[in-house]
Subunit: 304 residues, 2 copies
């Protein structure tokens, strides 16, 4: 596949209400889509500031809190903050971000009206510790699931990712068989002949199917990169196959309702048309309840 001249539609959240049909089709065919200008101006600054606080806290060292996760720096050999889980629980602007109407209308277009928010995490690439992230898929579709709707992450970039250090994806690999995916991932080095780079500016977003192959090359001398991942799943897939229990669905749907309401009370959303979450059939919520918490630990709600 020659990807150098690939026609890639790019959405712009300041010019559209949601992704359009062409962009939706590109995402479904290729497993990823770039959306520019999702976070702008005050919201971008506030979200950057909030995530800087969590980053600073994590870098200073947090012990005994499993939400702050560390690896070992390949150059320094020191503990390196690599991930912070449940950022919605830790910051009110991150709650408001879950209510982002462009994002939610686009998720609805791709997953249907019964989508459920699942993971919310910040992933960090430490400065000057950049190493190859080998080709990989983030996760698999649950066993037995024949529903073809995509499960995907919404990746909010808070820092620039330039051509030297950015994510690469293999277009269309989201529909490859497990065997084809495994074969590609086993190839040595970080070859990019069938891949394209996805440079990003702060405030831009990638939708990425959990099945799309992605990775990044050695980024010597890279700056800090913070990316927030919000994952969404069609409720029908969650209800039928998990990984969470049925109880989890309504809990997270109530978190979503709450975050949509919270967004309405931010200054930066004043001019927006709010998203109207209207799950249907068995997924309808008849009695919205204020969330008891914003941190429903995944492992607590696994099906066993």
């Amino acid at each position: 596949m020659n990807t150098s001249n690939m026609e890639m539609p790019i959405a712009d959240a300041q010019l559209q209400d949601s992704i359009n049909e062409e962009q939706a089709k590109f995402f479904l065919d290729n497993g990823f889509l770039v959306i520019r200008h999702v976070l702008v101006n005050e919201e971008l600054r506030i979200v950057q500031f909030e995530m800087a606080k969590l980053y600073d806290k994590g870098v200073a060292g947090v012990s005994g809190d499993p939400d702050y996760m560390y690896g070992t720096g390949v150059k320094s050999g020191q503990p390196i903050l690599k991930r912070v889980e449940y950022v919605i629980d830790k910051s009110d602007p991150m709650k408001a971000l879950l209510g982002h109407p462009f994002i939610l209308r686009s998720v609805e277009k791709l997953q249907g009206p019964n989508f459920i928010p699942t993971w919310d995490s910040m992933v960090l690439k430490a400065p000057d510790e950049g190493v190859i992230v080998p080709w990989h898929r983030d996760a698999a579709v649950p066993d037995g699931c024949e529903d073809k709707r995509p499960i995907f992450n919404v990746d909010f970039y808070l820092d620039e990712a330039d051509l030297q250090t950015c994510l690469w994806v293999i277009p269309g690999s989201s529909s490859w068989s497990p065997e084809a995916s495994d074969e590609r991932c086993r190839r040595p080095g970080f070859s990019t002949e069938d891949a394209i780079p996805v440079p990003m500016q702060p405030g831009d977003v990638i939708f990425h199917n959990i099945l799309v192959l992605h990775g990044s090359p050695d980024g010597d001398g890279n700056p800090l990169r913070r990316t927030v991942y919000y994952e969404f799943r069609p409720g029908e897939i969650e209800a039928g196959f998990g990984p969470h229990t049925l109880e989890y669905l309504a809990l997270k749907q109530n978190v979503l309702y709450d975050c949509i309401e919270r967004r309405k009370h931010t200054a930066y959303a004043a001019g927006e048309k709010p998203f109207d979450y209207k799950p249907t059939g068995g997924f309808a919520i008849r009695q919205k309840t204020t969330p008891l918490q914003y941190r429903y630990p995944h492992e607590t709600y696994w099906r066993r």
Copy 2:
């Protein structure tokens, strides 16, 4: 079918922990089962007293409350209280009754560990207004459902039903086709050649499959009869086919947990081994919450 010498196993809640295999098989084959002595002594007196209060309130006349339902007396022509809905919401001993361990262990045996409590109602046969209740099924299994586990009511008798006025059932009719059931229901009069009477004492219980044909003859001069119906459904059937939304499941599971706890604090349950509700897989409840209410209106939670 000659039903006059039918071998009918009868359970006794004072002598068993739950229905046994033979009784379970009889229920699955025939669509009903009699259990003697479920409510005894203090609990029977308290439940009778509580339901007498609701009955008296209803007979005095309640307007504007849809939970008190009236018909027109065929003899008196007057409004006659025929049903009170959501009795668990209206009385604490009825909450404790939902936690009855013999009943719940038996429901679990028949429906599996993920059963859900649905309806809770008191049905009244007014004194001396007894009329033929024609042969009927209470409800149908949801469209598309192939799960063979029974949906059934637990009927708690608070008053005697003697041979003159008691319920009649047609054994095995729970597995008849809709056509066979319709044909039998269309026959004129209240013929009983393929049916058996089920006389009951106060505190006795019938499990009756929603599909079993039942009815009662003209009971001239009948005394008041109060029967409380608690319906249970396998969670898998509710989740897959409704009629309630998925949100309803966890709400009612939390009501069930709460009622099991409440029962432990009653004097009359002091000697009992409490029921241990342990739903599995997608039905597991990880975070028990005190119910916000005990009255979740069915129509609010219908799938649309």
